[in-house]
Protein backbone atom coordinates (compact mmCIF):
# COMPACT_ATOMS: atom_id res chain seq x y z
CA UNK A 1 0.00 0.00 0.00
CA UNK A 2 1.39 3.37 -0.95
CA UNK A 3 -0.04 6.23 1.04
CA UNK A 4 2.48 8.95 0.21
CA UNK A 5 3.72 10.18 -3.13
CA UNK A 6 6.53 12.33 -4.49
CA UNK A 7 7.40 13.70 -7.91
CA UNK A 8 11.10 13.76 -8.78
CA UNK A 9 12.60 15.86 -11.57
CA UNK A 10 15.62 14.55 -13.48
CA UNK A 11 17.75 14.98 -16.58
CA UNK A 12 18.45 11.96 -18.81
CA UNK A 13 21.87 11.03 -17.36
CA UNK A 14 23.23 7.75 -16.02
CA UNK A 15 23.54 9.28 -12.55
CA UNK A 16 19.75 9.76 -12.41
CA UNK A 17 19.79 6.00 -11.85
CA UNK A 18 18.93 5.86 -8.15
CA UNK A 19 15.56 7.68 -8.25
CA UNK A 20 14.61 5.79 -11.42
CA UNK A 21 15.56 2.44 -9.87
CA UNK A 22 13.90 3.27 -6.54
CA UNK A 23 10.71 3.45 -8.56
CA UNK A 24 11.26 0.70 -11.15
CA UNK A 25 12.66 -1.94 -8.80
CA UNK A 26 9.88 -1.45 -6.26
CA UNK A 27 11.95 -0.02 -3.37
CA UNK A 28 9.76 3.08 -3.08
CA UNK A 29 6.64 0.96 -3.14
CA UNK A 30 8.08 -1.18 -0.33
CA UNK A 31 8.26 2.03 1.70
CA UNK A 32 4.63 2.87 0.90
CA UNK A 33 5.77 5.65 -1.40
CA UNK A 34 4.55 6.26 -4.95
CA UNK A 35 7.11 8.00 -7.18
CA UNK A 36 6.53 9.91 -10.40
CA UNK A 37 9.63 10.74 -12.43
CA UNK A 38 9.51 14.04 -14.32
CA UNK A 39 12.01 14.23 -17.20
CA UNK A 40 13.33 17.57 -18.39
CA UNK A 41 16.00 18.78 -20.77
CA UNK A 42 17.68 21.60 -18.87
CA UNK A 43 18.75 22.17 -15.28
CA UNK A 44 16.98 25.52 -15.36
CA UNK A 45 13.68 23.75 -15.92
CA UNK A 46 14.39 21.03 -13.33
CA UNK A 47 15.07 23.84 -10.86
CA UNK A 48 11.97 25.86 -11.85
CA UNK A 49 9.73 22.86 -11.34
CA UNK A 50 11.22 22.23 -7.91
CA UNK A 51 10.95 25.86 -6.81
CA UNK A 52 7.39 26.33 -8.01
CA UNK A 53 6.00 23.03 -6.77
CA UNK A 54 5.79 20.99 -9.98
CA UNK A 55 8.13 18.47 -8.39
CA UNK A 56 8.85 17.57 -4.77
CA UNK A 57 12.51 16.67 -5.19
CA UNK A 58 15.08 16.79 -7.95
CA UNK A 59 18.20 15.14 -9.32
CA UNK A 60 20.49 18.16 -9.36
CA UNK A 61 24.13 19.13 -9.70
CA UNK A 62 25.34 19.82 -6.16
CA UNK A 63 26.64 23.35 -6.89
CA UNK A 64 23.29 24.35 -8.41
CA UNK A 65 21.57 23.51 -5.11
CA UNK A 66 24.08 25.79 -3.38
CA UNK A 67 23.76 28.55 -6.00
CA UNK A 68 19.96 28.48 -5.71
CA UNK A 69 20.18 28.71 -1.93
CA UNK A 70 22.56 31.67 -2.21
CA UNK A 71 20.35 33.36 -4.83
CA UNK A 72 22.88 33.49 -7.65
CA UNK A 73 21.13 34.70 -10.81
CA UNK A 74 17.63 34.41 -9.33
CA UNK A 75 15.83 35.08 -6.05
CA UNK A 76 17.27 32.89 -3.27
CA UNK A 77 15.29 29.82 -2.25
CA UNK A 78 16.87 27.60 0.43
CA UNK A 79 17.37 24.04 -0.80
CA UNK A 80 18.53 21.02 1.15
CA UNK A 81 20.53 18.04 -0.06
CA UNK A 82 19.94 15.12 2.32
CA UNK A 83 21.37 12.47 -0.04
CA UNK A 84 24.21 12.38 -2.58
CA UNK A 85 23.05 10.54 -5.70
CA UNK A 86 26.58 9.59 -6.64
CA UNK A 87 30.23 10.51 -6.88
CA UNK A 88 32.03 11.24 -10.16
CA UNK A 89 30.94 9.54 -13.40
CA UNK A 90 32.06 12.41 -15.64
CA UNK A 91 34.88 12.62 -18.12
CA UNK A 92 36.87 15.15 -20.11
CA UNK A 93 36.66 14.49 -23.83
CA UNK A 94 38.75 16.40 -26.38
CA UNK A 95 38.72 16.68 -30.17
CA UNK A 96 40.63 13.61 -31.46
CA UNK A 97 43.51 15.66 -32.95
CA UNK A 98 43.93 17.67 -29.76
CA UNK A 99 43.70 14.53 -27.63
CA UNK A 100 46.50 12.95 -29.68
CA UNK A 101 48.78 15.84 -28.68
CA UNK A 102 48.25 15.35 -24.96
CA UNK A 103 47.54 11.68 -24.26
CA UNK A 104 48.19 8.16 -25.35
CA UNK A 105 44.92 7.76 -27.24
CA UNK A 106 42.66 4.95 -26.11
CA UNK A 107 44.08 4.31 -22.65
CA UNK A 108 43.90 6.17 -19.34
CA UNK A 109 47.02 8.13 -18.48
CA UNK A 110 48.52 10.26 -15.72
CA UNK A 111 46.15 13.23 -15.62
CA UNK A 112 48.84 15.55 -14.23
CA UNK A 113 51.11 14.81 -17.22
CA UNK A 114 48.18 15.10 -19.65
CA UNK A 115 47.32 18.47 -18.11
CA UNK A 116 50.94 19.64 -18.47
CA UNK A 117 50.88 18.80 -22.18
CA UNK A 118 47.55 20.61 -22.53
CA UNK A 119 49.20 23.60 -20.86
CA UNK A 120 51.94 23.43 -23.55
CA UNK A 121 49.23 23.62 -26.23
CA UNK A 122 47.66 26.59 -24.47
CA UNK A 123 51.09 28.30 -24.22
CA UNK A 124 51.43 28.22 -28.01
CA UNK A 125 48.70 30.84 -27.95
CA UNK A 126 45.74 28.62 -28.76
CA UNK A 127 42.79 29.73 -26.66
CA UNK A 128 40.82 26.55 -26.21
CA UNK A 129 37.05 26.56 -25.87
CA UNK A 130 35.86 24.00 -23.34
CA UNK A 131 32.24 23.09 -22.71
CA UNK A 132 30.73 22.22 -19.36
CA UNK A 133 27.11 21.27 -18.71
CA UNK A 134 26.24 24.15 -16.43
CA UNK A 135 27.83 27.16 -14.84
CA UNK A 136 27.07 25.71 -11.39
CA UNK A 137 28.10 22.11 -12.02
CA UNK A 138 30.72 19.84 -10.53
CA UNK A 139 31.89 19.38 -14.14
CA UNK A 140 32.81 23.04 -14.30
CA UNK A 141 34.61 23.07 -10.95
CA UNK A 142 36.36 19.76 -11.49
CA UNK A 143 37.59 20.89 -14.90
CA UNK A 144 38.78 24.19 -13.43
CA UNK A 145 40.50 22.39 -10.57
CA UNK A 146 42.40 20.18 -13.01
CA UNK A 147 43.36 23.06 -15.33
CA UNK A 148 44.59 25.23 -12.43
CA UNK A 149 46.58 22.34 -11.00
CA UNK A 150 48.32 21.95 -14.35
CA UNK A 151 49.23 25.60 -14.71
CA UNK A 152 46.34 26.71 -16.89
CA UNK A 153 44.33 29.66 -15.57
CA UNK A 154 40.69 28.65 -16.20
CA UNK A 155 39.57 32.26 -15.98
CA UNK A 156 41.95 33.60 -18.63
CA UNK A 157 43.85 30.96 -20.59
CA UNK A 158 40.80 29.12 -21.87
CA UNK A 159 37.17 29.94 -22.55
CA UNK A 160 34.67 27.85 -20.59
CA UNK A 161 31.15 27.82 -21.92
CA UNK A 162 27.96 25.93 -21.25
CA UNK A 163 26.85 23.16 -23.60
CA UNK A 164 23.78 21.06 -22.80
CA UNK A 165 24.75 17.36 -22.50
CA UNK A 166 22.68 16.13 -25.47
CA UNK A 167 24.52 18.59 -27.74
CA UNK A 168 28.03 17.93 -26.42
CA UNK A 169 28.97 15.50 -29.19
CA UNK A 170 27.57 17.85 -31.85
CA UNK A 171 29.52 20.78 -30.40
CA UNK A 172 32.74 18.74 -30.64
CA UNK A 173 31.93 17.58 -34.16
CA UNK A 174 31.19 21.09 -35.42
CA UNK A 175 34.30 22.57 -33.81
CA UNK A 176 32.20 24.80 -31.59
CA UNK A 177 34.25 23.49 -28.67
CA UNK A 178 37.67 21.80 -28.40
CA UNK A 179 36.67 19.73 -25.40
CA UNK A 180 33.85 18.96 -23.00
CA UNK A 181 33.43 17.87 -19.43
CA UNK A 182 30.14 16.02 -19.29
CA UNK A 183 28.44 13.05 -17.64
CA UNK A 184 27.60 9.72 -19.16
CA UNK A 185 26.42 8.55 -21.60
CA UNK A 186 27.43 11.71 -23.46
CA UNK A 187 31.21 11.17 -23.53
CA UNK A 188 30.61 7.68 -24.82
CA UNK A 189 28.28 9.06 -27.49
CA UNK A 190 31.07 11.40 -28.68
CA UNK A 191 33.63 8.57 -28.62
CA UNK A 192 31.23 6.24 -30.39
CA UNK A 193 30.77 8.82 -33.17
CA UNK A 194 34.52 9.29 -33.42
CA UNK A 195 34.28 13.02 -32.69
CA UNK A 196 35.96 12.89 -29.28
CA UNK A 197 38.57 11.03 -27.25
CA UNK A 198 38.36 10.73 -23.46
CA UNK A 199 41.59 12.06 -21.91
CA UNK A 200 40.59 11.95 -18.24
CA UNK A 201 37.73 10.84 -16.04
CA UNK A 202 36.86 12.99 -13.06
CA UNK A 203 37.60 10.13 -10.64
CA UNK A 204 41.26 10.62 -11.67
CA UNK A 205 41.06 14.27 -10.65
CA UNK A 206 39.32 13.67 -7.33
CA UNK A 207 38.84 10.04 -6.41
CA UNK A 208 35.68 10.85 -4.43
CA UNK A 209 34.28 13.91 -6.14
CA UNK A 210 30.73 14.87 -5.17
CA UNK A 211 28.37 14.91 -8.15
CA UNK A 212 24.54 14.99 -8.21
CA UNK A 213 22.45 15.35 -5.09
CA UNK A 214 18.82 14.90 -4.26
CA UNK A 215 17.63 18.48 -3.84
CA UNK A 216 14.52 19.42 -1.89
CA UNK A 217 13.08 22.74 -0.77
CA UNK A 218 14.22 23.15 2.81
CA UNK A 219 10.79 24.32 3.98
CA UNK A 220 9.08 21.24 2.53
CA UNK A 221 11.68 18.87 3.97
CA UNK A 222 11.32 20.34 7.44
CA UNK A 223 7.52 20.57 7.35
CA UNK A 224 6.93 17.03 6.00
CA UNK A 225 9.97 14.85 6.64
CA UNK A 226 8.20 11.49 6.41
CA UNK A 227 7.91 11.06 2.62
CA UNK A 228 11.53 12.17 2.25
CA UNK A 229 12.75 9.71 4.86
CA UNK A 230 11.02 6.94 2.95
CA UNK A 231 12.53 8.20 -0.29
CA UNK A 232 16.05 8.16 1.17
CA UNK A 233 15.65 4.55 2.27
CA UNK A 234 14.38 3.58 -1.19
CA UNK A 235 17.30 5.43 -2.81
CA UNK A 236 19.79 3.67 -0.55
CA UNK A 237 18.42 0.29 -1.59
CA UNK A 238 18.46 1.39 -5.24
CA UNK A 239 22.17 2.12 -4.79
CA UNK A 240 22.70 -1.35 -3.42
CA UNK A 241 21.04 -2.79 -6.55
CA UNK A 242 23.04 -0.46 -8.83
CA UNK A 243 26.37 -1.93 -7.70
CA UNK A 244 25.16 -5.56 -7.90
CA UNK A 245 26.85 -6.99 -11.02
CA UNK A 246 24.11 -9.59 -11.46
CA UNK A 247 21.57 -6.80 -12.04
CA UNK A 248 23.67 -4.78 -14.50
CA UNK A 249 21.84 -5.81 -17.70
CA UNK A 250 18.43 -5.34 -16.13
CA UNK A 251 19.42 -1.89 -14.84
CA UNK A 252 20.97 -0.73 -18.12
CA UNK A 253 17.83 -1.81 -19.96
CA UNK A 254 15.58 0.10 -17.56
CA UNK A 255 17.67 3.29 -17.79
CA UNK A 256 17.76 3.08 -21.60
CA UNK A 257 13.96 3.29 -21.90
CA UNK A 258 12.45 6.26 -23.78
CA UNK A 259 10.88 7.63 -20.59
CA UNK A 260 14.30 7.80 -18.90
CA UNK A 261 17.58 8.19 -20.82
CA UNK A 262 16.19 7.19 -24.21
CA UNK A 263 19.64 5.96 -25.19
CA UNK A 264 21.84 3.00 -25.90
CA UNK A 265 21.72 0.35 -23.19
CA UNK A 266 25.24 -0.81 -24.20
CA UNK A 267 26.74 2.65 -23.56
CA UNK A 268 24.87 2.98 -20.26
CA UNK A 269 26.07 -0.46 -19.21
CA UNK A 270 29.67 0.58 -19.93
CA UNK A 271 29.42 3.61 -17.66
CA UNK A 272 27.51 1.83 -14.89
CA UNK A 273 30.15 -0.93 -14.74
CA UNK A 274 33.16 1.45 -14.94
CA UNK A 275 34.11 -0.01 -18.35
CA UNK A 276 35.18 3.01 -20.35
CA UNK A 277 35.87 3.28 -24.05
CA UNK A 278 38.48 6.05 -24.27
CA UNK A 279 38.63 6.19 -28.06
CA UNK A 280 36.77 4.74 -31.01
CA UNK A 281 38.25 1.46 -32.22
CA UNK A 282 39.95 0.67 -28.91
CA UNK A 283 38.98 -1.77 -26.16
CA UNK A 284 36.91 -0.82 -23.13
CA UNK A 285 39.08 -0.39 -20.04
CA UNK A 286 38.06 -0.85 -16.43
CA UNK A 287 38.50 2.43 -14.55
CA UNK A 288 38.11 1.80 -10.81
CA UNK A 289 35.49 4.03 -9.14
CA UNK A 290 34.56 5.80 -12.40
CA UNK A 291 31.04 6.08 -10.99
CA UNK A 292 30.77 5.62 -7.24
CA UNK A 293 27.12 5.37 -6.33
CA UNK A 294 26.86 3.37 -3.15
CA UNK A 295 29.83 1.84 -1.34
CA UNK A 296 31.60 3.54 1.60
CA UNK A 297 28.51 5.57 2.43
CA UNK A 298 28.98 7.41 -0.88
CA UNK A 299 25.49 8.86 -0.51
CA UNK A 300 26.29 10.54 2.80
CA UNK A 301 26.16 14.33 2.33
CA UNK A 302 29.47 15.39 3.90
CA UNK A 303 29.26 19.06 4.78
CA UNK A 304 32.92 19.34 3.74
CA UNK A 305 31.90 18.47 0.17
CA UNK A 306 29.61 21.49 0.09
CA UNK A 307 32.45 23.53 1.59
CA UNK A 308 34.85 22.36 -1.15
CA UNK A 309 32.31 23.40 -3.79
CA UNK A 310 31.94 26.85 -2.23
CA UNK A 311 35.73 27.21 -2.32
CA UNK A 312 35.75 26.37 -6.03
CA UNK A 313 32.88 28.79 -6.67
CA UNK A 314 35.01 31.48 -5.05
CA UNK A 315 38.00 30.63 -7.25
CA UNK A 316 35.81 30.74 -10.36
CA UNK A 317 34.57 34.20 -9.38
CA UNK A 318 31.00 32.94 -9.06
CA UNK A 319 30.75 34.12 -5.44
CA UNK A 320 32.60 36.64 -3.31
CA UNK A 321 34.05 35.05 -0.21
CA UNK A 322 31.81 35.75 2.74
CA UNK A 323 31.59 33.91 6.05
CA UNK A 324 27.80 33.94 6.26
CA UNK A 325 27.44 32.56 2.74
CA UNK A 326 30.06 29.92 3.45
CA UNK A 327 27.98 28.72 6.40
CA UNK A 328 24.78 28.85 4.33
CA UNK A 329 26.41 26.82 1.54
CA UNK A 330 27.57 24.15 3.96
CA UNK A 331 24.15 23.96 5.60
CA UNK A 332 22.64 22.89 2.26
CA UNK A 333 24.07 19.41 2.87
CA UNK A 334 21.99 17.62 5.50
CA UNK A 335 23.78 14.68 7.16
CA UNK A 336 21.26 14.93 10.03
CA UNK A 337 18.38 14.03 7.71
CA UNK A 338 20.41 11.22 6.14
CA UNK A 339 21.08 9.69 9.57
CA UNK A 340 17.48 10.04 10.75
CA UNK A 341 16.11 8.45 7.58
CA UNK A 342 18.57 5.56 7.26
CA UNK A 343 18.93 4.58 10.92
CA UNK A 344 16.09 1.98 10.66
CA UNK A 345 17.98 0.18 7.85
CA UNK A 346 20.86 -0.52 10.20
CA UNK A 347 23.40 0.75 7.66
CA UNK A 348 26.71 2.40 8.61
CA UNK A 349 26.22 6.05 9.58
CA UNK A 350 29.29 8.28 9.87
CA UNK A 351 29.61 9.98 13.25
CA UNK A 352 31.25 13.12 11.89
CA UNK A 353 29.53 15.44 9.40
CA UNK A 354 32.69 16.85 7.84
CA UNK A 355 36.10 15.45 7.00
CA UNK A 356 39.42 16.50 5.59
CA UNK A 357 38.70 16.07 1.86
CA UNK A 358 41.52 14.37 -0.02
CA UNK A 359 43.09 13.32 3.26
CA UNK A 360 42.96 9.54 2.79
CA UNK A 361 45.52 7.74 0.68
CA UNK A 362 44.75 4.29 2.11
CA UNK A 363 41.53 2.64 3.30
CA UNK A 364 40.81 3.91 6.79
CA UNK A 365 38.19 3.03 9.37
CA UNK A 366 36.13 6.00 10.54
CA UNK A 367 33.95 6.67 13.56
CA UNK A 368 30.28 5.87 13.18
CA UNK A 369 27.12 6.20 15.18
CA UNK A 370 25.97 2.89 13.71
CA UNK A 371 27.73 0.06 11.82
CA UNK A 372 31.32 -0.24 10.60
CA UNK A 373 32.66 2.00 7.90
CA UNK A 374 35.95 1.96 6.01
CA UNK A 375 36.61 4.78 3.59
CA UNK A 376 38.96 4.25 0.65
CA UNK A 377 41.45 6.72 -0.82
CA UNK A 378 39.82 10.04 -1.65
CA UNK A 379 42.87 11.86 -3.01
CA UNK A 380 43.02 14.77 -5.40
CA UNK A 381 45.34 14.33 -8.40
CA UNK A 382 47.67 17.07 -7.12
CA UNK A 383 47.83 15.65 -3.59
CA UNK A 384 46.25 18.73 -2.00
CA UNK A 385 43.90 18.48 0.95
CA UNK A 386 40.86 20.57 1.71
CA UNK A 387 40.16 21.42 5.32
CA UNK A 388 36.75 23.09 5.61
CA UNK A 389 37.90 24.91 8.75
CA UNK A 390 40.81 26.54 6.95
CA UNK A 391 39.14 28.04 3.90
CA UNK A 392 41.19 31.21 3.79
CA UNK A 393 44.47 29.34 3.95
CA UNK A 394 43.23 27.05 1.13
CA UNK A 395 42.33 30.00 -1.09
CA UNK A 396 45.48 31.96 -0.31
Amino acid sequence: MTDLSLRIGFLPLVDAALPILAHELGFAEDEGLALTLVRDMSWATVNDRLLYGHSDAAHMTAPLAIATTLGLGRPAVPLSAPFVLGLNGNAITLRPDLAAQVTDVGVPGDVAAIGQRLADVVRTGTKLRLGVVHRYSSHNYMLRYWLSGCGIDPNHDVEILTVAPPFAADALASGEVDGICVGEPWNSVAVDRGVGVIVAVTAQIWRRGVEKVLAVKRKRLEAEPEPYHRLLRALWRAGQAFVDPSRLDEIANILARPAYLDGSSALIKGAASDQILFAHGHERIHVPDFMFQHREAANFPWVSQAAWLYAQMTLAGHVTLNKADYATAQAVFRPDVYRAALRPLGVPLPGASAKLEGGLSDPTGVGTVQGRLILGADSFFDGRHFDPDALEAYLA
Binding site: D40, S42, A44, G53, G73, P75, R135
Partner: protein
Amino acid sequence: MRIAIVDERAARAAVIDEGLREAGLTEIAIFSERHGIVGRIEAFAPDVILIDIANPRRDELEEIFSVSRALARPVAMFVDQSDVEMMEAAIDAGVSAYVVDGFSKARIKSVLDLAIRRFNAFAKLRAELDEAKGALADRIKIDAAKTLLIKKRAMTEPAAYAALRKAAMDSGRKIVDVADALLTAEKLMGGL
Protein backbone atom coordinates in the same frame (compact mmCIF):
# COMPACT_ATOMS: atom_id res chain seq x y z
CA MET B 1 9.45 47.66 -23.85
CA ARG B 2 11.58 45.42 -26.07
CA ILE B 3 10.66 41.75 -25.94
CA ALA B 4 12.66 38.83 -27.33
CA ILE B 5 10.88 35.52 -27.92
CA VAL B 6 13.20 32.51 -28.07
CA ASP B 7 11.28 29.52 -29.37
CA GLU B 8 12.36 26.82 -31.77
CA ARG B 9 8.73 26.36 -32.74
CA ALA B 10 8.18 29.24 -35.08
CA ALA B 11 4.40 28.68 -35.14
CA ARG B 12 4.09 29.15 -31.38
CA ALA B 13 6.40 32.16 -31.42
CA ALA B 14 4.11 33.71 -34.01
CA VAL B 15 1.04 33.16 -31.80
CA ILE B 16 2.76 34.88 -28.87
CA ASP B 17 4.03 37.67 -31.06
CA GLU B 18 0.52 38.30 -32.35
CA GLY B 19 -0.91 38.46 -28.83
CA LEU B 20 1.70 40.92 -27.64
CA ARG B 21 1.19 43.13 -30.68
CA GLU B 22 -2.57 43.17 -30.11
CA ALA B 23 -1.83 44.48 -26.63
CA GLY B 24 0.07 47.33 -28.17
CA LEU B 25 3.58 45.98 -27.65
CA THR B 26 5.38 46.37 -30.92
CA GLU B 27 9.09 46.05 -30.23
CA ILE B 28 9.23 42.30 -30.49
CA ALA B 29 11.76 40.00 -32.11
CA ILE B 30 11.47 36.25 -32.57
CA PHE B 31 14.56 34.03 -32.38
CA SER B 32 13.82 30.55 -33.71
CA GLU B 33 17.18 29.77 -35.25
CA ARG B 34 19.92 28.93 -32.77
CA HIS B 35 22.87 29.85 -34.94
CA GLY B 36 24.41 33.13 -33.82
CA ILE B 37 21.53 33.68 -31.42
CA VAL B 38 23.55 35.48 -28.74
CA GLY B 39 24.87 38.13 -31.06
CA ARG B 40 21.41 38.71 -32.47
CA ILE B 41 19.78 38.94 -29.03
CA GLU B 42 22.51 41.31 -27.88
CA ALA B 43 22.02 43.47 -30.95
CA PHE B 44 18.29 43.62 -30.26
CA ALA B 45 18.94 44.61 -26.59
CA PRO B 46 15.67 43.32 -25.10
CA ASP B 47 14.24 44.26 -21.71
CA VAL B 48 12.42 40.96 -21.40
CA ILE B 49 13.28 37.57 -22.87
CA LEU B 50 10.63 34.86 -23.09
CA ILE B 51 11.86 31.28 -23.57
CA ASP B 52 9.99 28.07 -24.09
CA ILE B 53 10.53 26.12 -20.87
CA ALA B 54 11.22 22.84 -22.67
CA ASN B 55 14.01 24.42 -24.71
CA PRO B 56 17.00 22.13 -24.07
CA ARG B 57 19.36 25.08 -24.51
CA ARG B 58 18.03 27.08 -21.57
CA ASP B 59 21.15 26.42 -19.49
CA GLU B 60 23.38 27.66 -22.30
CA LEU B 61 21.28 30.78 -22.74
CA GLU B 62 21.23 31.49 -18.99
CA GLU B 63 25.00 31.18 -18.88
CA ILE B 64 25.36 33.56 -21.81
CA PHE B 65 23.00 36.05 -20.17
CA SER B 66 25.06 35.95 -17.00
CA VAL B 67 28.32 36.78 -18.76
CA SER B 68 27.09 39.00 -21.58
CA ARG B 69 28.46 42.50 -21.47
CA ALA B 70 25.99 43.84 -24.00
CA LEU B 71 22.91 42.59 -22.15
CA ALA B 72 22.23 44.22 -18.83
CA ARG B 73 22.24 41.02 -16.77
CA PRO B 74 18.89 39.42 -17.36
CA VAL B 75 17.72 37.46 -14.32
CA ALA B 76 15.55 34.36 -14.41
CA MET B 77 12.01 34.32 -13.10
CA PHE B 78 11.84 37.91 -12.11
CA VAL B 79 8.48 38.04 -10.40
CA ASP B 80 8.82 38.39 -6.65
CA GLN B 81 8.55 35.23 -4.71
CA SER B 82 5.20 36.23 -3.24
CA ASP B 83 3.78 35.74 -6.70
CA VAL B 84 4.14 31.98 -6.73
CA GLU B 85 0.79 31.45 -8.39
CA MET B 86 1.81 33.34 -11.47
CA MET B 87 5.06 31.41 -11.71
CA GLU B 88 3.18 28.14 -11.48
CA ALA B 89 0.87 29.29 -14.25
CA ALA B 90 3.91 30.19 -16.34
CA ILE B 91 5.45 26.77 -15.87
CA ASP B 92 2.12 25.09 -16.60
CA ALA B 93 1.92 27.05 -19.81
CA GLY B 94 5.54 26.24 -20.65
CA VAL B 95 7.08 29.70 -20.63
CA SER B 96 10.04 31.00 -18.72
CA ALA B 97 11.12 34.58 -18.61
CA TYR B 98 14.21 36.66 -18.00
CA VAL B 99 14.31 40.35 -17.39
CA VAL B 100 17.10 42.83 -17.24
CA ASP B 101 17.90 44.35 -13.88
CA GLY B 102 15.78 47.15 -12.58
CA PHE B 103 12.87 46.84 -14.94
CA SER B 104 9.39 47.76 -13.67
CA LYS B 105 7.84 44.70 -12.09
CA ALA B 106 4.26 45.76 -12.72
CA ARG B 107 4.87 46.10 -16.44
CA ILE B 108 6.63 42.76 -16.63
CA LYS B 109 3.76 41.01 -14.89
CA SER B 110 1.36 42.14 -17.56
CA VAL B 111 3.68 40.86 -20.28
CA LEU B 112 4.15 37.52 -18.58
CA ASP B 113 0.43 37.24 -18.01
CA LEU B 114 -0.15 37.84 -21.70
CA ALA B 115 2.56 35.35 -22.68
CA ILE B 116 1.00 32.71 -20.45
CA ARG B 117 -2.36 33.22 -22.08
CA ARG B 118 -0.85 32.98 -25.55
CA PHE B 119 1.13 29.84 -24.70
CA ASN B 120 -2.10 28.29 -23.43
CA ALA B 121 -3.96 29.46 -26.51
CA PHE B 122 -1.33 27.80 -28.66
CA ALA B 123 -1.64 24.54 -26.74
CA LYS B 124 -5.41 24.69 -27.22
CA LEU B 125 -5.00 25.37 -30.94
CA ARG B 126 -2.77 22.35 -31.26
CA ALA B 127 -5.22 20.17 -29.35
CA GLU B 128 -8.02 21.32 -31.67
CA LEU B 129 -5.86 20.68 -34.70
CA ASP B 130 -5.03 17.17 -33.49
CA GLU B 131 -8.71 16.57 -32.87
CA ALA B 132 -9.61 17.79 -36.34
CA LYS B 133 -6.93 15.55 -37.84
CA GLY B 134 -8.29 12.63 -35.85
CA ALA B 135 -11.83 13.32 -37.04
CA LEU B 136 -10.66 13.41 -40.64
CA ALA B 137 -8.85 10.10 -40.25
CA ASP B 138 -12.01 8.56 -38.76
CA ARG B 139 -14.08 9.85 -41.66
CA ILE B 140 -11.72 8.27 -44.18
CA LYS B 141 -11.89 4.87 -42.45
CA ILE B 142 -15.68 4.91 -42.22
CA ASP B 143 -15.96 5.84 -45.89
CA ALA B 144 -13.63 3.01 -46.89
CA ALA B 145 -15.69 0.51 -44.84
CA LYS B 146 -18.90 1.78 -46.43
CA THR B 147 -17.41 1.40 -49.90
CA LEU B 148 -16.41 -2.15 -49.05
CA LEU B 149 -19.96 -3.03 -47.97
CA ILE B 150 -21.45 -1.35 -51.04
CA LYS B 151 -19.15 -3.38 -53.29
CA LYS B 152 -19.22 -6.76 -51.56
CA ARG B 153 -22.75 -6.80 -50.20
CA ALA B 154 -24.40 -4.73 -52.92
CA MET B 155 -25.74 -2.31 -50.30
CA THR B 156 -26.82 1.27 -50.85
CA GLU B 157 -24.77 3.86 -49.08
CA PRO B 158 -27.39 4.62 -46.37
CA ALA B 159 -27.81 0.87 -45.76
CA ALA B 160 -24.07 0.39 -45.47
CA TYR B 161 -23.82 3.19 -42.93
CA ALA B 162 -26.83 1.83 -41.01
CA ALA B 163 -25.18 -1.62 -40.89
CA LEU B 164 -21.99 -0.15 -39.45
CA ARG B 165 -23.92 1.87 -36.92
CA LYS B 166 -26.00 -1.12 -35.82
CA ALA B 167 -22.89 -3.31 -35.44
CA ALA B 168 -21.32 -0.55 -33.37
CA MET B 169 -24.35 -0.18 -31.12
CA ASP B 170 -24.74 -3.93 -30.68
CA SER B 171 -21.12 -4.37 -29.62
CA GLY B 172 -20.85 -1.13 -27.65
CA ARG B 173 -18.04 0.18 -29.85
CA LYS B 174 -17.51 3.33 -31.87
CA ILE B 175 -18.43 3.25 -35.58
CA VAL B 176 -14.84 3.98 -36.50
CA ASP B 177 -13.67 0.93 -34.52
CA VAL B 178 -16.14 -1.31 -36.35
CA ALA B 179 -15.03 0.20 -39.66
CA ASP B 180 -11.41 -0.40 -38.68
CA ALA B 181 -12.12 -4.04 -37.77
CA LEU B 182 -13.90 -4.56 -41.09
CA LEU B 183 -11.00 -3.11 -43.05
CA THR B 184 -8.47 -5.22 -41.11
CA ALA B 185 -10.53 -8.36 -41.72
CA GLU B 186 -10.75 -7.55 -45.42
CA LYS B 187 -6.99 -7.09 -45.56
CA LEU B 188 -6.33 -10.42 -43.80
CA MET B 189 -9.01 -12.43 -45.60
CA GLY B 190 -8.28 -10.97 -49.00
CA GLY B 191 -11.04 -11.56 -51.53
CA LEU B 192 -12.92 -14.20 -49.47
